[in-house]
Amino acid sequence: MKIRFMKDAVVDELKRNISKNCSKYGQSDNSWVQNEWLKEFKHELPEFSLDLLKEKPEDTDFNNIKILYSNLKTITDSQACDERLWAGLCHDKFWNYMQYRWSISKVKETKEDSILNHYFFKQTGQRALMTNALARLWWVGRLTYDKNAEDPFILTEYLCKDLNGRGFPLFGSNFSNNKEVTKNFLYILMKYEEKNKLNREEFLEVIKRMNLWGGKIILDSLSKEELSRKILEFLKGSKNLIENE
């Protein structure tokens, strides 16, 4: 399958004229997107399509992370940070997915903001990777995929139980840039949850504590066992504190 990315100047132009083009993003077809705005990506990719079958579009996130990441695994991290690639895919190959998952008629934010966030990179830096509709699917896959596990998407599935509440704060934390630390962190909490309850607030408290520890120690230098001991001690301490209150 050939995919196309959007030319740099076109990305700028479309972002400048969002209000003018707003209604076009509500159309079921993308015939207004001109061929010369797009350019063929150099790699050949397998033929695939995304899941558009669930009643609640957000329920397809886990499946679509698996589909998109598995099929686009060969692109490099550097390419996956390129706005032109995701803007091209959002306006071209995956237009139908965009209408299904991020229909501008249903958004809470302004239509302009929704288009900028989901079809382009509104912010600079890492945040954009988590707000663009397709980049977020790829990057959650990239950061949770464990090629050595029997089920390489086991951590993805765990995190997708609460992707917005747990996943995005996790990926906003600096320590999550180290993929080994992120995987260890998720394995530790997943295992903990097999026998204990861990609500969203507690999960976020552990993230906060990791950030605090990261101010003094190099978390990247700890083994999985050492990190596990620290996190479990913290959870035990904070649970006791709540029970004593």
């Binding site: 350019k39 991290d77 550097s78 940070c81 390129d82 630390v181 120690i217 190099i218 700890l222």
Partner: protein, 285 residues
């Protein structure tokens, strides 16, 4: 990760940013070399503190190079030795800039952490240090990583490859919006079979686009017929790229510099890319 001097530590820390030690030093001499596929870093680690040296010797402390590229969410640590070290990173994992922070960290829990060289504020006080704690910070470095805009596209977009029907030579046409490189029929068919692979594509750029660009630059220089091409897309793109490299098609400066050199700059080291691809193809076989 970048560590600022405003960050407070509950024990003495050896760094230029703090005054916790009297005369000890932890210095890093760093050089880096960027190639198309890699960033190579050379670091010379110099430590003058008996206590920390002993801890390193006993494996109770380690020297680490903390490396982070915030844009591509790349973060890792590499262990360093005292003296000279070489480390490298694949460019395709990076974009924006790479932050390098050399540190000494506790490799185990350390009881009674003490140095005779502690500032007088800490005189005769020892500390209990947790594993992973930062004990020293060396010179930090930010390396800019510039990704070329063209890295997503297959061949330089101002060129178009076509069949040269019934002619046995390669020719270049300059009158259209794109530079058309015409290949003899069999060569054109072979090109069609090979162009899908990135490795072959690098080799094809060297074989086809590189000589075609040299031809075009020579034509522009020899005939000064610039006006007739000025409104062509290929001319505008080429002119922009040349200006970025410090050359101007409208001035006479092009003739002073070797066209061969300019063509290599525009195509971003085509020979290097081709030979690297050939080397990789050989290894994979």
């Amino acid at each position: 990760m970048q560590i600022k001097g405003s960050r407070a530590f509950p024990y003495p820390l050896l760094s230029k940013m703090y005054e916790d030690y009297l005369s000890s030093t932890f210095k890093i001499e760093m050089n880096y070399l960027k190639s198309r596929n890699e960033i190579n870093l050379q670091l010379k680690v110099l430590l003058e503190n008996m206590n920390l040296e002993m801890l390193i010797k006993d494996k109770k402390a380690i020297i680490l190079c903390h490396v982070e590229c915030p844009k591509t969410k790349y973060r890792t640590v590499k262990e360093l030795n005292l003296g000279k070290n070489k480390i490298s990173f694949a460019s395709n994992l990076l974009d924006g800039y790479l932050e390098i922070v050399p540190v000494i960290v506790a490799n185990t829990k350390i009881d009674n952490f003490y140095s005779k060289d502690f500032n007088k504020d800490y005189e005769r006080i020892s500390f209990e240090i947790e594993k992973g704690s930062i004990l020293a910070i060396g010179e930090q470095l930010k390396i800019p990583i510039k990704k070329e805009l063209g890295t997503l596209s297959k061949i330089p977009s101002i060129f178009q490859i076509e069949k040269n029907i019934n002619k046995p030579e390669m020719e270049v046409e300059m009158h259209g919006e794109k530079l058309v490189v015409k290949l003899p029929e069999e060569e054109y068919n072979n090109y069609g079979l090979l162009k899908g692979s990135e490795s072959y594509n690098n080799i094809l750029i060297s074989m086809i686009i590189f000589p075609a660009l040299i031809f075009v630059l020579s034509e522009l220089e020899n005939f000064h017929g610039l006006e007739m091409y000025e409104d062509r897309r290929w001319y505008r793109v080429l002119n922009k790229k040349l200006r970025e490299e410090g050359f101007d098609l409208k001035s006479d400066s092009l003739g002073l510099v070797s066209i061969l050199k300019i063509a290599q700059k525009i195509l971003d080291l085509p020979l290097f890319r081709a030979t690297e691809s050939l080397k990789n193809l050989e290894v994979n076989e």
